[in-house]
Symmetry: C2
Subunit: 481 residues, 2 copies
């Protein structure tokens, strides 16, 4: 059976969110399973989304003064072991190379789960004076963490990401950097992915292995679970101490720098899918859509579309392309129009442009929004401006709708009974008081699956602890991916 | 000792080419040695060159109809073993992961030395019909080959590259694709890197493990040795057979597709260095230079440069930036002007812009070319156009000079004595007849270190074999990196 002729069915979102997610990923050809468990293949349509995201994130990282570099994939075990908390956190997840060039290696090499160990070792060699600071580097690369339960984009053994690694002369500068990059992640998520996020600080139990303080952006997915979508760490002087980085300060004294690291990954594509998708499949914000407009030419009842429709369709495509719009013409002659509509809906293309013989007669076309399915008849004269305008409104509408969803799915509770009730229902974000005790945090997780996603940047409003009634601060809870 | 104050000495090129190369790589901060043998760190200045190269190569790859994707790093041993020649060629160079998540793996996983095995396995799953062809994919990634003798950029255990992998319905289409990508590599090398290359076919002994035919671009380095700078393979139906890829053709018959693969890597940076560099260090073609112009402000004899020079220097920088020129202002206040001149020369910046109080009085500046050291006084009005024009001329001049070098270092020989003499002298390319016998090829290599770099695309002019006197074809020899 020709696979192109098969209508691709997607499990309804309301019926089984998790299966819906996998259906969308596989059927929209974003990714596929590879031969090694947890290692996905990112297919061209999915990878194009990543390229668009990457280009914009890279611009933001460079605009904040960072430069890119590339550090080796393999980290000697002894290097990883220098920072005690760090190795405890990461070593169970490592993949180890033990044979190279046909011989057993003297020391096993870890495939990087993250690059603090490697990069800080090099910094120890490069940094000598206060004039060498700050060091503001970023790298785009693959990393590997041996995960037990995996899901495409959301949790994969190998994933692609950027990891920033900086060094600063003072704690204040390191903290400023950490928060600056958190803000880059927030603005990127909202402006590019139309995905609203909370920002805040992680508790001790949720922070990065080896960090002094971890900050994160957290988004709310369609099933009421939270997704950690980017993290920024103030690493204190832990790594400088462990890797022997020091510098001669302005007073000719040896001093120890402060370091930060921050990362965002292909996981964001999972967030994108689960924030906007619906029963018909993917819904892509225009700014990261491989195709922003797909032209579906309507064949004439009589005669040849090669003469009556396609020439005009190509003209329209050229006009849109010329205006910088990413456009695709679906001129497949072996698929019905209805199939094409469903296919491109499933792939989340923001605007469908229908063009038939009657439209051509009237010098117009039909634009159909993916999000609202709203149709409009648009004159071909001035089409690029109209399409661009509609794409911008669609981008804004997706963010608005997602913000509404977060608002509707945030519950402020004052008793533990209310807390538990919210968690057995639609879940979402729960705002509740916490006394700062890790034991209470652990008990809530045990009993409700909810964890503290973030402590607000201002520390949170004073409120009694939802479990103990003791003095506490209001923090954000949710069940997390 | 403050490392910035140390003048960085480079071994003269004529004295020790190999040491000169390492000095340039390390002192221009293109790369550094990492903790694992053969795994280099690409530092920001070197990585920026790669980013500029990558952006342009990616554009060329996309313009020829390809799309990017991403395939997993780890390949199960059984997958690698499916193509007999391929595994024989690559398995001695593999790094093997044997432990993951704290447990011994049932099957060792190779870190990809190249991705034919992985990608063809996926193609077997994706391709069903003639409508699915051609498949035109590319990926940018890291690969690993366990090398005994390594040198930064030229031969490293881990390197970055792009690898294209395509499938076609017919042999003719596969051959057309293979040659098309060879031409992409040729034009890229000459237009971007100003590095002239030969194109041609590899002999059986030099072809890619598993290929039907391998084509390559070959450049001539400053020491008279050749560098294979990109390869394009017609893989025949070998991989389709080994990985079970087939498709239903237009006549509803099962057919086996033809595949190609082609790659270019960070090795090109090594080629760039050795093509243009001189005793003072790197010489960068403007199109891949991180900074095309560096402004060195000259301090006034009396008074403050913050008042008398820097404001104008910033104005000039803004004007150049506005014209799309990559420019850097060296306003370090702890370095002498002379040091800065030498420093930026060493880093290969194409144009130095000197600006002092007297220049400002005359509304002019001095532009100094890196390649010829030619100075010109240029009015500040119209500077961006003048600079752009000069950069273009410099780019063209580097290619011309390199072409002249290849011409001057190519020897056409008719006797084996002449051949040997050329190889004991300045080496370079040698054009000589070969009877097509691999034993003769091996003997020449054994006795002179020269290998057949390429057979001309037209097969080569008829000439007697330089060793046997038998009928032969003229092919290109050289000692290779």
């Amino acid at each position: 059976m020709d696979k192109e002729r098969t209508m691709k069915e997607i499990t309804p979102r309301s019926e089984d969110f998790s299966q819906w997610y996998l259906d969308v990923v596989l059927k929209a050809e974003l990714a596929d399973y590879g031969p090694v468990k947890g290692c996905m293949v990112i297919r061209p349509y999915g990878f194009r989304i990543w390229e668009l995201m990457q280009a914009d994130m890279d611009r933001r990282i460079k605009e904040t003064g960072h430069v890119n570099a590339y550090f080796p994939l393999l980290i000697p075990r002894s290097f990883l072991e220098k920072e005690k908390d760090h190795v405890q956190g990461f070593s169970p997840e490592c993949a180890w190379v033990t044979i190279g060039g046909g011989e057993e290696l003297e020391e096993p090499l870890a495939i990087r789960p993250t690059s603090e160990a490697m990069i800080c070792s090099m910094y120890a060699k490069w940094v000598n004076s206060w004039r060498d600071l700050p060091v503001l580097l970023n790298q785009w690369c693959n990393v590997l963490r041996w995960e037990k339960v995996t899901r495409p984009f959301l949790r994969t053994t190998e994933f692609l990401w950027q990891e920033g690694h900086t060094l600063h002369a003072t704690e204040a500068e390191a903290e400023e950097e950490t928060l600056k990059m958190l803000e880059v992640y927030r603005s990127f998520s909202e402006e590019m992915l139309a995905m609203p996020v909370l920002t805040g600080r992680k508790t001790e139990s949720e922070k990065f292995a080896g960090a002094l303080r971890t900050y994160a952006i957290e988004a709310l997915m369609g099933d009421g679970k939270a997704l950690q979508a980017g993290t920024s760490h103030n690493l204190g002087q832990h790594f400088a101490t462990a890797y022997g980085i020091d510098f001669l300060d302005k007073d000719q004294q040896r001093a120890k720098p402060w370091s930060t690291s921050w990362g965002s990954s292909t996981r964001l594509i999972g967030g994108l899918i689960m924030t906007h998708g619906d029963d018909n499949g993917l819904v892509l914000p225009p700014r990261v859509a491989p195709y922003q407009v797909v032209i579906v030419p309507i064949p004439p009842r009589k005669g040849d579309w090669n003469e009556q429709v396609l020439p005009k369709a190509r003209e329209v495509m050229a006009a849109l392309k010329g205006a910088g719009i990413r456009v695709h013409l679906d001129d497949r002659d072996n698929q019905q129009t209805g199939f094409k509509y469903a296919d491109w809906e499933m792939r989340g293309v923001p605007l469908r442009l229908e063009l038939g013989p009657k439209d051509i007669e009237k010098d117009q076309c039909v634009l159909v929004r993916r999000d609202t399915r709203e149709k409009s008849f648009v004159p071909l004269a001035g089409l690029p401006d109209a399409a661009r305008d509609l794409l911008e409104r669609l981008q804004a509408a997706l963010l608005e709708r997602a913000r509404g969803f977060v608002k509707d799915n945030t519950t402020r509770v004052s008793t533990y009974a209310e807390f538990k009730e919210a968690m057995t229902g639609r879940r979402g974000f729960i705002l509740a008081g916490w006394n700062g005790d890790p034991a209470i945090e652990a008990r809530i997780k045990e009993e409700t699956k909810a964890t503290i996603r973030v402590i607000p940047l201002d520390g949170g409003a004073e409120t009694p602890c939802v479990v103990t009634g003791q003095p506490g601060r209001e923090v954000w809870f949710a069940q997390a991916y």
